[in-house]
Amino acid sequence: MSQVIRSPKMYDVCVIGSGAGGGTAAKILTEGGLSVALIEAGPPVYPEKDFKMLMWPYELPHRGIGVGGRAAENFGEFLAPNGAWDIEGEPYTSAPGSNFQWFRSRIVGGRTNHWGRIALRFAPIDFKSATRDGLGDDWPIAYDDLSPYYDKVESYIGVFGTRENVSSAPDGMFLPPPKPRCTDLIVKKACDKIDVICIPSRLAILTKSVNGRLPCHYCGQCGRGCVTASNFSSSQVMIPPAMKTGKLTMITGAMAREVILGKDGKAEGVSYIDKATRTEKRVNARAVVLAASACESARLLLNSKSPQFSNGLANSSGAVGKYLTDSVGSDGWGIIPQLEKMPPHNHDGVGGMHMYIPWWKFDRKNDFPRGYHIEFGGGRDMPGVGEFNDLLHEEEGYGATLKKRARQTYGTGIGMAGRGEMIPNPDTYCEIDPSVVDKWGIPVLRFHFKWSEYEIRQAKDMQETFRAIIEAAGGEYKTKTPLGGERPFGIAEGGKIIHEVGTARMGSDPKSSVLNGFCQAHDVKNVFVMDGAPLVTNPDKNPTLTIMALAWRASEYLLDEAKKGNL
């Protein structure tokens, strides 16, 4: 059969994964003069061909929901490739009683091709939450350690926003925000009435040209991928400068299988399955950066067993796969009669929210720990499949009346989504499934997931707030959520918010953490993890910006250590 093909070449660093963290690492490391092999499980991305920017639903025979309607569950055919809850031949399992959903994207750039572009800094308190309320653990680093790197990332990728001085949502290096949509003005006014903070959002979308990238053209379709790279994706913003150095070797279609440990106790490379030929190949490197996404990196560490690390590489603490969290999510919507009177107008704007509600109850006692923010949208968006699902839930009959009702209600809905902090718990983790392998022969992950009373009370609070805002706006709140069952108060299934982090957390104590504050493994000095896995807490801020700031900082540290000969 096939034999392992060893490339004679020795790279300085092998980076696994080309998303937010891997792309950042590739850029910083190559610009710092190191040679980098970047291995990516998916194919290259070709924005002009692959992104469906400015297409109408009727230009696709399936109108956006794909063959048999099956793309609908993966956010539709319009989504930039290749995100999916299920990848053929690459399963994962959930333990009995758990239902965890894992959204993966095998392509250069990973999930940054289609992410929500919400770019929020963690707040100073988020690094010290345990000190405040005794739950979980503090980070080994503080906001001040990361703040200069938030500055660097924001200045480089371009983030719009405004300086607001809200303690739960620190200000950053912002481009000007886009003008508010009608829905923003209505929600803002309602929030003012009931003393809820509502401010311009912070999204990684250019409202001015940055580094030659064109400013946004306001088609409202960032999720489809942006052909002009006017929003941030790793594939279009991090990889090109790395390529330009001449120091980057990109290996696509490469499914990492194991980090190889040398006799000296250091990693000496990565073995991967070349998907095209189904052969095992190997990259030799002086250091390894795992940035395959939090759970995929945990899987890789757990699958990298050796006499020295029988429970998985860099896992003497046993913390790999543990401390898994996702954001708490609960959604709702209402009808705003005022919007019926709006004349037709272009409401597209940027692809995402122009305003949002940061966590505003940080100064009072709540019946749950930590907090959440609220994203909202609605109004006269481009009609799509499912446009009138909610209307048709109530509206009956057929014919001219139905058509009139559709005209009348189009664009009058406002949807809200709460995104909050989950506290790590011992019932929520991932491990290697003892009996299942994927089609590449690699053992897969098995997930355990459980919301605690903390998160459920938070979801309850979200629902009450959504209702209060919609009613303060003179609207009718439509969402009804159960008090119990599997999803009390509409709390999303674990993984559904796609903010899964924490599975190789950093910490100052090697007995309870995998990495130090520079994302470097306590056990193996030339192994780093630079995705969502190092995060100690998962505050109500979407993790991507923090993943990039941590990766930038860790990469500079790696460069420094390499120069000193410490790796």
């Binding site: 400015l54 009727y58 309607g69 009608c182 209505i186 088609c219 940027v350 559709a406 664009g411």
Partner: protein, 199 residues
């Protein structure tokens, strides 16, 4: 598809020129996008109406589907109806690819014929317009199923068909224009909200 990507390249070129040259155009690629829609439209027009060969439904079923879609969203003084907008083709394509849809729509249409045969001794299409209206007025409202549980399968079928007809119609050019959606175009500045009417 080739035409579309050419069009999108045109759009990009226009965008790039617009940004680099500081063009004063407010709406840049609307014309280019319009061109793509024309292409799709012309392609459809090239095959004469009625020539569509259903991928899943039998000729009889498809005729029922046409009639039902047309009843759910008819032409009115503002816009064309669901049939003109291609909703039946959309439903047929998706049904041909999905076993759940096959059961729901294939079985639902058969239920409708069975129901009409029991009640009027004719299949749906052979009923008088008054009889058809009577049946639809029964299955188009959920409350009827509460009073008469024997209608519940028909009510479920009609609710699903109504949903899918709306999907097909409101993702078509006709349906999107009917709603007066304005956008899917490139702007140099986002204008924001026009003056809000009083609440």
């Amino acid at each position: 598809m080739t035409e579309n990507s050419v069009t999108r390249r045109d759009i990009l070129r226009t965008l790039a020129v617009g940004a680099a040259g500081g063009s004063v155009l407010q709406v840049i690629p609307a014309k280019a996008a319009e061109y793509a829609h024309e292409l799709v439209h012309n392609e459809k027009a090239a095959s004469p109406a009625g020539k569509y060969v259903p991928k899943y439904f039998s000729a009889h079923q498809y005729e029922m589907l046409l009639m039902l879609c047309d009843t759910i969203i008819p032409k009115d003084d503002k816009s064309g109806g669901a049939v003109e907008a291609g909703a039946p083709e959309f439903i047929d394509l998706l049904t041909s690819e999905n076993e759940d849809w096959q059961l729901a729509f294939g079985g639902g249409l058969q239920w409708l014929d069975n129901f009409c045969s029991d009640r009027y001794s004719n299949v749906f299409l052979d009923c008088t317009p008054e009889q058809r209206k009577e049946v639809l007025d029964l299955i188009a409202f959920r409350k009827n199923a509460k009073q008469d549980p024997s209608l519940s399968q028909g009510v479920a079928f009609f609710a699903l068909l109504r949903r899918r007809t709306c999907d097909g119609f409101y993702t078509s050019k006709i349906g999107i224009e009917d709603l007066q959606y304005i956008g899917n175009t490139a702007l140099r500045e986002f204008p924001g909200c026009p003056p809000l009417p009083e609440a």
